[in-house]
Symmetry: C2
Subunit: 165 residues, 2 copies
DNA sequence: TTCGATAGTTCTATCGCGCAATGATCTATA
DNA sequence: TATAGATCATTGCGCGATAGAACTATCGAA
């Protein structure tokens, strides 16, 4: 414990926790910026991703997957439907529920989202070597595992970002 | 680039950016939880920390340091003053401005905040060896530097956290 | 003294969010 | 078949956080 004893490291800048929070918020905001040219918010993009993996599930099922309130899900779906990216269809087996499907435009948009995501990741890790990237990924995954974070639960992305200057 | 080619890593769970966002939000929320027994929010605690380093500066100066709106600063200062942790004093040289000072209670509270911060950091990094912690810190600092993040700009902490079940 | 600039405060509009109530529909049971 | 309770989606309402505009007091300069 002599290498980095937290008891003598009161500088928040050298704290893992602080750095993670700072980077997390910054990167989330940055991703929002990168998404703007596509006319999407983070949540909307996230929903598109969830949808491909779960095409045809009910709104509530998707909402649960995303960890969002059913009420919000209505609004979120409204927006994506208005954009023509998602389609509500009555489930003939249970006409209470709306099954959600990606439209063709939605699939195309998802491809663009994936491209943005790739560019985003590349920009973030541009300063690292491949080995460092792997190292970092492994460490972060360890932390995430320790904290009981499953891969699919996004707690909450900031809707907008002030610009962080 | 054969070790972790982003072009063939579409799984967001293995993305550095995604992990950082996920961890950042989770850890910020967790810190908020740890702060609750003290009766403080993250922003308030953050302001106490900023204040020790800048005792006697004007509200606006502190606001700028923290990257918050002057309007918010008024409210923030109000709260801390109501709690008896911070004191507004008129600056005799310029009676428009309010110089901010930590009270004795504020200094005591700051010590508790630091203790919580230490425990928080320890809990986050409990699963890492000292060497790994150093490695991770170095990598994160590199990223933060690459992103142009100065040590003092907290873009925005979430006021509360749903619990993330 | 008078004028423009500045620090802090207050007021107000906006936005995101969750809870509760509602209508439609399903399932179970008599 | 008919009725009761549960479930899905939707809508309405209010709360809390926030930023921008307007206001007051004070400063510095002409």
């Amino acid at each position: 414990m002599e290498t980095s004893d937290p008891a003598i490291a009161p500088q928040p800048e050298s704290s893992v926790a602080f750095l993670l929070v700072q980077l997390g918020f910054h990167i989330a905001g940055l991703f929002g910026e990168r998404l703007k040219p596509l006319g999407l918010e983070q949540r909307q993009a996230g929903m598109l991703v969830r949808l491909t993996e779960n095409d045809g599930r009910s709104q509530q099922a998707i909402a649960e997957l995303m960890g969002v309130n059913p009420t919000r899900m209505v609004f979120l779906t409204d927006e994506l439907e208005k954009l023509g990216l998602v389609e509500r269809r009555r489930n003939p087996a249970d006409r209470r529920s709306h099954a959600l499907y990606l439209t063709e435009a939605g699939t195309a948009m998802l491809a663009r989202v994936r491209e943005v995501t790739r560019a985003h990741e590349a920009a973030i890790t541009a300063g690292l070597s491949g080995a460092e990237r792997d190292q970092l990924t492994a460490l972060l995954q360890r932390l995430a595992g320790d904290q009981g974070l499953a891969g699919h639960s996004l707690p909450g992305m900031p809707p907008r970002h002030a610009g962080a200057d």
